[in-house]
Subunit: 205 residues, 2 copies
């Protein structure tokens, strides 16, 4: 019985989050009410509150989900075959692209991110730590294989993330739209050099 | 006569900006009116409008002044004696410290920055380009002296600035207060490695 109840509860939470995300995207976070979410699910607001004790908690769940997709994509790349160098490039590019798609040119999602950063900063911190951890995994593999030369992997991973802020952070991505330099590729090359990676095309002086 | 008139006009503009900056700091940008500024200068608002055609233009002048001080400090360091490595460290540290002092823990100045980024984005862009240019000068000197190994100096300068965004950008500095990693020193070391600088304390394995 407990297992079934757990499954039902997890399923209900998931359904609420799916509907909430849809409404946040369609009419915006501020304008969406718990009553709107309940109505679409054909249940009472009181029933929604059994699973999430506030709209803020629902927002947190939706934010976790959106960020979770990025985390999963990063992990999939980290565990794929290939050189550490190539996987690090793919990972950094993917996080940038996913954040661009999600948060740029979509004012409603942008509002959600701004609110997440104000109200659910812990979710953002956890997300950054997870992505930093995954980057650290790839760096460690690169050190192991002799591709990178790094003495402190966690430190190198946090510097890599910080160096990529302009390409990762929703607000920075939005502001950088007017700047054409550096390009993502140039920035990744810069980071690779900082990680002690050998140049792709060594120049003979 | 023209010279005297020019001097008087420049002097008047400067006086208006000094008073405006004081009021923006004391009561905030939104609450300050052109009438407030005129009153403190014992002149009519119409007279202020002879020198600046809007409050926005005054704001721009104040923002330019605040950013100009950082640019000057950076240039002074760039032209000082010493190794390029040391000057780059000093320059990056100084820009970080000055931006921390200016924009963090001072809600009124923070408001001004937010408005500058919305209304006078061109001033911000020009500031970033100037600081990037000064960083490029130091990098070029380091390449010249054999301290750095960089093939494209302007690109390396823009990557250095982008890598430091977390420590330079007022919004990022404010958000990073909860994060203890990477430290400024770790980030500068990371950048130095990306610029091909030799390690300070080479570790013998």
């Amino acid at each position: 019985m407990t297992l079934v109840t757990d499954a039902t509860e997890a399923d209900m939470r998931r359904r609420i989050l799916v509907v909430a995300e849809r409404l946040f995207r369609e009419i915006g976070y501020q304008k969406t009410t718990v009553a709107d979410i309940a109505k679409l699910l054909q249940m009472s607001p009181a029933n929604v509150y059994r699973f999430f004790d506030s709209k803020k908690a629902i927002h947190k769940g939706v934010a976790r989900h959106l960020m979770g997709e990025v985390e999963q994509a990063a992990e999939t790349i980290a565990r794929a075959p290939g050189s550490a160098r190539q996987r690090l490039c793919d990972l950094l590019t993917t996080v940038h692209r996913m954040n661009c798609e999600r948060y740029i040119g979509d004012a409603k999602l942008h509002e959600m991110v701004a609110i997440a950063m104000e109200e659910n900063w812990d979710v953002c911190i956890a997300h950054m730590e997870l992505v930093t951890g995954t980057i650290g995994e790839v760096i460690a593999q690169g050190v192991e294989s002799g591709e990178f030369e790094v003495s402190d992997v966690p430190q190198a991973a946090s510097c890599t993330c910080a160096a990529m802020v302009r390409f990762f952070h929703p607000q920075m991505i939005a502001q950088s739209f007017t700047k054409d330099r550096p390009t993502l590729e140039q920035m990744i090359d810069f980071v690779l050099t900082a990680l002690g990676a050998k140049k792709r095309a060594p120049s003979s002086p």
